[in-house]
């Protein structure tokens, strides 16, 4: 191995692209969604697929109904005869792998891909199969029950009611309706969506909506990034941390694993929570979104709701976040794509922000967390 490399090299997002996120891409296969995102991520950069050294991808065998499902999509990913690895976790972890690989000096250009087609799978079974089979599955724990249990405790501790959560869900859907990459044509106005419990105190509107889609992010070392990107988005820090598997062993109303991931990312980038106004987080529910913001230090404990009461200067989930569009396994990488697009001035809306904070989650009831910090030069 090379013996003369010194400190880690700078890594940048040079471009990124996603398909529209929609409840069901009935006329597209996985490979169509993937190749669409990949093709558009390369477009305009001057880089061709032959310039890409490696591919790291995220997807779920379970959702795909295929073992080692990456094998079936290597062609669409442009991975043929390249180094490739599958991270079976949200795409933000795949981005971490790619960042490490370039920072180490062993590669120059990498492609990070995440995709999901939950419309072809049983999403409830996906979540239930995440929990160990001996103690938690037999009692009927599922994604809704788990989110409901957490929400009950959180609302009680924070002195909030179920109706307060509407501030979060309505903001999410409102933001998503301005996002050309989220299909909100089925925007649900009916009273049942907003009012009926699915897991008391949570309603359908409080839960992330599974959608189909793919996202591709092109990352490169500094010298390449400066050549091919008008405004490279530097990846300045990243951290990840997992919590206990058994829900009863976790903290009831806070996310210390998310705090740990954020601490690492802030330390690596030499920044603090205050330095970030542009924030994209992945909440599996409205309460999850609030808890994440608190864990990231973007609000005092139990006070994240204030950001939704019109008292905030922070731009939180301008894309809509994960509530209106949760392409399971790709959600965090979509957050990164949304934030990077804005920072680079290629998004559908302009921003003054120079830094962005991105969060992704994985596992049952948000057991695992990943945080990435990014910035553009003045």
């Amino acid at each position: 191995m090379d013996t003369n490399s010194s400190s880690p090299r700078r890594v940048a997002v040079v471009n990124s692209a996603q398909t529209v996120l929609t409840p069901a891409w009935t006329d597209r296969q996985h490979i169509d969604l993937i190749s669409d995102a990949v093709t558009r991520a390369l477009k305009g950069t001057g880089l061709r697929i032959d310039d890409v050294d490696f591919v790291i991808d995220s997807g779920s065998d379970f959702l795909d109904g295929r073992s080692i499902s990456n094998c079936g999509f290597l062609g669409a990913m442009g991975a043929h005869h390249k180094e490739e690895s599958r991270i079976e976790e949200d795409g933000l972890w795949a981005l971490n792998y790619a960042t490490n690989k370039i920072a180490s000096g062993s590669s120059s250009v990498g492609l990070v891909i995440a995709y999901s087609k939950p419309s072809e799978s049983n999403v409830d079974a996906y979540w239930t199969a995440l929990i160990e089979p001996f103690l938690q599955r037999p009692v009927g724990l599922d994604q809704f029950v788990a989110a409901g249990l957490t929400a009950q405790q959180y609302l009680s501790a924070a002195g909030l009611s179920a109706d307060d959560l509407k501030l979060v869900s309505e903001r999410a859907w409102e933001n998503a309706s301005r996002n050309p990459s989220v299909d909100t044509s089925a925007y649900p106005f009916d009273a049942a969506f907003w009012g009926d419990d699915v897991a008391s105190p949570l309603r359908s509107s409080d839960m992330a909506r599974p959608v189909d889609g793919a996202v591709a992010v092109l990352v490169a070392r500094e010298e390449v990034a400066n050549q091919v990107a008008k405004r490279p988005v530097w990846i300045t820090g990243s951290g990840s941390a997992i919590d206990q598997h058994f829900m009863a062993a976790r903290e009831a109303t806070t996310l210390p694993a998310c705090e740990a991931a954020a601490r690492t990312a802030y330390r690596m980038s030499g920044t603090t929570a205050k330095d970030y106004d542009l924030i994209e987080v992945s909440g599996r529910s409205t309460v999850g979104e609030l808890m994440v913001l608190e864990a990231l230090g973007q609000a005092e404990t139990y006070k994240a709701i204030d950001h939704y009461r019109g008292k905030t200067k922070k731009s939180i989930n301008l894309s809509g976040g994960a509530i209106p569009a949760d392409p399971i396994m790709a959600t965090g990488l979509v957050r990164l794509h949304e934030a990077a697009s804005r920072l680079a001035g290629r998004g559908y809306e302009e921003t003054d922000a120079r830094r962005a904070l991105v969060h992704g989650t994985g596992g049952f009831e948000m057991q695992n967390h990943c945080v990435v910090t990014m910035e553009v030069d003045q």
Binding site: M1, D61, S67, I68, E83
Partner: protein
């Protein structure tokens, strides 16, 4: 930056480990690796879990379940999955974490508990749901077609493959962790029941429950941890896409690409002479023959002659699979990391009864998917 393996551990492999859960199985290997390195989980910055496909044992993303048993709370945990080669892909992810500055000491744990699922049915779902599943039953038909092609064009005879079974099962006799300890003769292999001709039952490794753990660290740190690190001289993992008609049935292209890259990094120009020992992941006997050629241990078409010469036996010039390889134990998701761990044991002189005397440089090969994901690593006793 130099990187080394500072600790390895393995479970006892068996057809059914009913005494432990998946989490307990992983923990058993991790305990042994930590003890080998003289470390505790407090010393570990990051954990990479590698397993076979989740459908093998019906728990989705099982690293989440393992977190408690491993003592991983609040640490980074990520799972790499790449079929049979996943352990090596996991080790490569760990190396990138260290080289990229994200971690100093990384624990890689790989396992499969194959007694808990329907193996060949799960493997069958590798194939395209529209174009592949009607004729692809498990992995065996596919592997048999490969072998048949090589038999005709490269002379990989049934007798030559049988010698792989004889050699590896013989070697497994001295491996305390091996699951299958029963010697066979060429005649017995040849006369054994055909499963998918030319693959016969004694060409096939067992199905095992088992786990392996490896701890990697940066160079100076590695020397502070142990006076006998196994240095990584190179490692790579390449793929080829799924367009079947374009693929050569004779040589594995991603294997050749990976070997070329790693040999260059490691300064290998004459692999047969420069390696003292090799650990190759042979899902069927015929694959070991194919890897001899793909790894450049002999010329194309020379594999049968190489095995028949005895050069790859324990007493030969380049012993291959002193551990017994997959024939000794085959917990699929762990097998690649077992090859790496065994190679590390060899170059650090810790392999015990199956130690190759004076081994200083080891070759490791692993692979997965439908034979389209291939990894190679070189380990050495000397820092590089």
């Amino acid at each position: 930056m130099s990187i080394a393996i500072v600790g390895t551990g393995q479970t006892f492999h068996a057809r059914r480990r009913t005494d432990v859960s998946q989490a307990g199985l992983a923990r058993e290997a991790v305990n042994e690796a930590l003890a080998d390195a003289g470390m505790t989980m407090d010393d570990i910055d990051s954990i990479v879990v590698a397993t076979g496909p989740v459908m093998f044992a019906a728990v989705n993303q099982p690293e989440k379940w393992l977190a408690d048993a491993l003592g991983a709370r609040y640490k980074p945990v990520v799972r790499v999955t790449s079929g049979g080669g996943t352990g090596l892909a996991g080790a490569l992810a760990a190396i990138n974490q260290i080289k990229g500055g994200a971690a100093k000491r990384v624990l890689v744990v790989a396992y499969d508990k194959l007694s808990e699922g329907a193996l060949q049915a799960s493997i069958s779902t590798l194939y395209d749901p529209f174009w592949g599943r009607e004729f692809a039953v498990g992995i065996m038909g596919f592997a048999a077609a490969y072998w048949h092609g090589r038999m005709k064009r490269l002379g990989h005879t049934e007798e030559a493959a049988a010698l792989v079974a004889v050699k590896n099962r013989h070697n497994a006799m001295l491996n305390p962790k091996a699951h299958v300890k029963r010697e066979v003769t060429v005649e017995e292999v040849m006369a054994s029941r055909p499963l998918c001709w030319p693959i016969k039952i004694l060409d096939v490794p067992p199905i095992s429950d088992g786990a392996c753990a490896v701890i990697l660290a940066e160079g100076s740190d590695a020397l502070a941890i142990t006076d006998r690190p196994a240095w990584i001289h190179g490692m790579a993992y390449y793929c080829e896409a799924d367009n079947g008609p374009d693929r050569s049935m004779l040589q594995s292209e991603p294997l050749q690409i990976a070997a070329t890259k790693v040999y260059k990094e490691a300064g290998i120009t004459n692999p047969f002479r420069q390696f003292d020992v090799a650990e190759l992941q042979e899902p069927y006997t015929c694959f070991e023959l194919s890897y001899y050629e793909g790894l450049g241990l002999c010329p194309e078409g020379g594999a049968a002659e190489l095995i028949m010469s005895g050069a790859t036996s324990m007493t030969g010039e380049l012993p291959v699979n002193p551990s017994g390889g997959c024939m000794g134990a085959n917990p699929i998701g762990a097998t690649a990391l077992i090859r790496l761990a065994e190679a590390a044991m060899q170059v650090t002189g810790k392999a015990g009864a199956h130690q190759v005397a004076g081994a200083e440089r080891a070759l490791v090969q692993a692979g997965g998917g439908w034979a389209n994901l291939r990894g190679v690593a070189v380990l050495g006793a000397e820092r590089r």
